[in-house]
Subunit: 469 residues, 2 copies
C-alpha cells in the first residue's frame, strides 16, 4: 500500500502500453488478446516502477479495457467472484484476528521456554513455531511480521542485542533464521501464504492438476522439513551469534507472558476454530467442502461468537487493498488466457530450443522464475505476473506437469529469500535494522542456492519415491 | 453498520430458516429454490430484527448455502462481479470525496446567499442545492447527511434555533424540508441514490426495460420538479417557522465560507470531473459507455490527479460494508430467480384475484411496496428484499411494464419519508434533534400521501403525455 503516485512514472507506463497496443498490426497475435497483454504489461511495469498503489494501477488497467469496449465490464470484474480471491480475503481477516488475540505469541513463548537455552535452541523454537502456525495462519505476513518478528525483537533486546548496539550478538542471527524460516513454512502448506491458493488455481487451470491441501503438503513435507531443520545451522555458519553462556529464557518468557495476560475468551475461541479449520482443510478428500468455504466459516464463527468484530474487519485495510488488486490482476490473467494471448506467446517460443531434455528445460524455466523475483516487490505480484505463462511454456516443452506444479508452487514462496522487499514479513524483519543491506542480499543469495539444491535434488528424489514422475 | 450481534435473535432467524427449509416436502416448490428462499427469508428477518451487522447475516446465508452444497461458491459470489454493485462502490467513494472537498458545501452557501432572505427562501435554497447535486452525488447519505444537513444545522444555530432552544423557530422547518427534499431528488436521477442502479438492474432483468439514466430522469422530471417545488409550502403549513423579519443570510454565509477557506485544488479537480461524469451519464445513448465505467473513470481520475488518495478510499468503511452485503444479497436474489422460486411464488398468487383492472392491481401492489418500508431499516435492503418479487407479481397480473418500472423506481426512494430510520440522511437529520419522534412520523405520513398523489396522478398524466402507456 505505497501511497505515492508518480505522474511521470505513470505516464511512462501508459506510454509503453499504448505503443505496444498500437503496434498490434505488426504481430500476428489475436487482437483483443494483444490489447489485454499491453494493459497487463503496463500494469506490471507500474508495479515494478512503483508508479501508483497497486490497486489503482490494476483498476486503471481494467476500466481502460472496459471503457474502450475491448472487454465487457462483467468479464473484467469476473475474478471478484472467484473463490480464490475470497480465500485470500478470509486469510487476511483470520490472520489479523490471530495476531490480535495473542494466541500465536503464546505458542511461540511456550516453545521458547522449552527449547530456548542456547542460540540454536532459540532458532529451533522459532522454526517450530513457524511450522505449527503455518497450516492455520494463512498469511505469512501475519505469522512472520505480526506474530514472530516482534517476539524475536524483544528476545534479542532482552539479551542486550539491539539494532544499534551489538546487533550481531544474537539479534542478526535470529532475524535471519526467522525470516527464512517463514518463507520455507510458507512454501509447505496451501494455507500458509495468502497467494498459495492462487498458485493452486493456476496449476488447476494450466496443468490440469488438482493441487489441493493434502497434495501440496505431501509434496513439500520431506524437502520442507529438511530445509527447515538445516536452516538454523546454515545461518549459524553465516552469521554466528556471539553468546556462549546458556540463556535464561524462562525469565524472558515470564516477562513477556505478563504483558499478554491470561488466556482470553477470544484466544480460546480462535484456537478451537483454527483446529477445526485444520481438520477440515486436511480432510477435504472425505467431505469435499472447498478451502474457501471452510476459511469463511471460520471467519463467520469468529464474528458470531464475538471473538472478532465486524468493525475490525472493515478496518483491515490490507485485506481490502489486496482484494481489489488481486481480483483485478487475476481478471486480467484470466482474460489473457481466454483471448488466446498466452497460447500465442507460448507457441512463439517454439523456435527457441534450449535443450532436448524436458527435465533440464523445466529446471531452467523454474530457476529463471526463481531469480526473476529480484524484479518484483511482492511475492503475489510475481506469481500473478509471470508464473502462469512460464508454467504454460514448460508444459509446451513436454515437462512433467506434476513436477512443474511442485517446482512452481514451492519456488513461489522460497524465492522471497532473494531481496529485502520481497514480502511483508521480510520487510518487517529487515526493517528491525539488525542486518544491513549488503549482508541481507549476500545471505539471501546463499540461501537461494541452498533452497534450489534441497528442493531440486531431494525434492525430485521424494517426488520419485511417491510416484509423482 | 450496527455493531451488536444478538445471539438470541440470530438463533431465532436460523431456527425460522431451518424450519422453513425442512418443510420443503410440504410444498411443490423447486427444491434448491426453496432452500435459497429459506436462507433469504432468514437473512431479511435478521435485517428486520437487527440480529447482526447486515454483512455478517448475508455472508452467513451465502456460505451456509455453499457449505451445504446447495449452490456452487462461484454462483454465490457471482454478484461481486456485478457492475451495479461496483457502481454502488464507486458511488460511495465519489460521495465521500465530494464531502471532503467542501465543493457541495460551497454550492449550498452560494445559493443561500442569493435566495435565503426568508424562511421559505432558505427552504428553496436547500431544495435547489439538492437538485443541483443530486445527479452527480450518487449517494443520498453523502448529499443529505454529509453536505446539506450540517449546513442546515449551523444555519439554524445562527438564527438562534437549536435542538434544545427554540427548535421550532426555524430549525424544525428546515430539517423537515431538507430530509424530504433529499428523498425526492434521490428518486429523480439514476445516480442520485446508491441503490437506484440496483433498481435499474432489477427492471432490466424482470421487466425487460433498459431504464437508463436518460429514461429515469425523463420519467421523473415533471412529478419530481412539482413535488420539490411544493414541498416547502407543504412543510411550511405543517411546521410553520416563527421568524417574520428578513434573514441576514449574507453574514451567515460569509462566516461559514471563512471556515472552508479558498477553493482548493481538490475542489476544482472534483468539480471538473463531476461535470464530465454528468455529461457522460446523460449522453450514454450516443457513446454507449456504461454508467459504472463512467463512475469508475471519475474515481480513478480523482486518484491519479491526487484530488483523493487511496488510503482514504480504503478507510471508507461504509463503502466496503455496503459492497459486501449488497453483493451477497444480490447474489441471493439472482439465485432465487435462477432456481425458479420467484416464478413459483408469483404463479402461486394466481388464485388471489384482487381486481380485474390491471392498473388498479398495479397501484395496490405499488402502494403495498411503499408502505412496507415501515418494516425496513434501509432503503437498499427494502429494494433488494421485496421490490423484485413484487414487480414480477405485477407483471403476472398484466401490469404495464413501463408504468411498473416507474412506480417501483421512484417509490423506492420516496417511501423513505415514512420513518426516522429509513436511510442515512434521514437518520442524520432526525438525529440533529429538532423534531421529535411523533412529529416526524406524523409529517412523514402526510408527506407519503402527498407523494402518492403527485407521483400517481401527475405521474400517470406525464407518462401518458410522453407515450409510455
Amino acid at each position: 500500500m505505497k501511497e505515492k503516485i508518480s505522474i511521470n512514472k505513470l505516464f511512462l507506463c501508459i506510454a509503453f502500453g499504448s505503443i505496444m497496443a498500437v503496434s498490434v498490426n505488426y504481430t500476428d497475435a489475436p487482437i483483443k488478446g494483444w490489447y489485454i497483454l499491453s494493459v497487463f504489461v503496463s500494469v506490471i511495469l507500474s508495479f515494478i516502477l512503483k508508479a501508483a498503489p497497486m490497486s489503482i494501477s490494476v483498476l486503471c488497467g481494467l476500466f481502460c479495457l472496459s471503457f474502450c469496449g475491448i472487454i465487457d465490464l462483467k468479464e473484467g470484474l469476473n475474478a471478484y467472484a472467484n473463490s480464490t480471491v475470497w480465500l485470500v480475503l478470509a486469510a487476511f481477516i483470520l490472520a489479523s484476528s490471530i495476531i490480535n488475540s495473542n494466541l500465536g505469541k503464546r505458542i511461540a513463548l511456550f516453545l521458547i521456554r522449552i527449547f530456548g537455552n542456547t542460540p540454536l535452541g532459540l532458532a529451533y523454537s522459532i522454526c517450530l513455531t513457524e511450522l505449527i502456525l503455518a497450516p492455520v495462519v494463512p498469511s505469512n505476513t501475519a505469522r512472520g511480521g505480526g506474530i514472530i518478528a516482534p517476539i524475536v525483537n524483544s528476545l534479542s533486546n532482552s539479551l542486550n542485542s539491539k539494532a544499534d548496539i551489538n546487533p550481531n550478538k544474537i539479534g542478526a542471527f535470529l532475524i535471519l533464521v526467522g525470516s527464512h524460516a517463514n518463507l520455507i513454512t510458507s512454501a509447505m502448506f496451501l494455507t500458509a501464504m495468502a497467494a498459495n491458493p492462487l498458485m493452486a488455481e493456476g496449476i488447476k487451470n494450466i496443468l490440469g492438476i488438482d493441487f489441493n491441501w493434502a497434495i501440496w503438503a505431501l509434496g513439500a513435507i520431506v524437502p520442507g522439513i529438511i530445509s527447515l531443520a538445516l536452516l538454523p545451522l546454515l545461518i549459524y555458519y553465516l552469521q554466528k551469534p556471539q553468546i556462549s553462556s546458556p540463556i535464561n529464557s524462562k525469565q524472558i518468557v515470564v516477562e513477556e507472558m505478563k504483558k499478554i495476560g491470561e488466556t482470553s475468551y477470544s484466544e480460546k475461541i480462535i484456537g478451537v476454530i483454527l483446529i477445526f479449520l485444520f481438520l477440515l482443510w486436511t480432510s477435504k478428500s472425505f467431505h469435499g467442502i472447498g478451502t474457501t468455504e471452510v476459511a469463511w466459516s471460520g471467519v463467520l464463527f469468529m464474528l458470531i461468537l464475538k471473538a472478532e468484530n465486524w468493525k475490525n474487519v472493515l478496518n483491515n485495510h490490507i485485506a481490502w487493498d489486496t482484494f481489489i488488486w488481486l481480483g483485478g490482476l487475476l481478471s486480467l490473467s484470466v482474460l489473457m488466457a481466454k483471448y488466446g494471448i498466452i497460447e500465442w506467446l507460448v507457441s512463439n517460443i517454439r523456435n527457441v530450443s534450449i535443450s532436448s531434455n524436458e527435465l533440464i528445460v523445466l529446471l531452467i524455466i523454474a530457476i529463471l522464475y526463481f531469480y526473476s523475483m529480484y524484479l518484483f516487490s511482492m511475492l503475489t505480484a510475481h506469481i500473478t505476473a509471470i508464473a502462469f505463462p512460464l508454467m504454460a511454456t514448460a508444459l509446451y516443452f513436454d515437462a512433467n506437469p506434476m513436477i512443474t506444479a511442485c517446482l512452481f508452487a514451492y519456488f513461489s514462496c522460497l524465492c522471497g529469500c532473494l531481496s529485502n522487499y520481497s514480502t511483508g514479513p521480510i520487510i518487517v524483519y529487515f526493517g528491525l535494522g539488525y542486518v544491513d543491506n549488503k549482508k541481507w542480499y549476500k545471505t539471501g543469495f546463499i540461501v537461494s542456492i541452498y533452497h534450489l539444491f534441497i528442493w531440486i535434488v531431494i525434492g525430485l528424489l521424494w517426488w520419485k519415491t511417491i510416484g509423482w514422475w
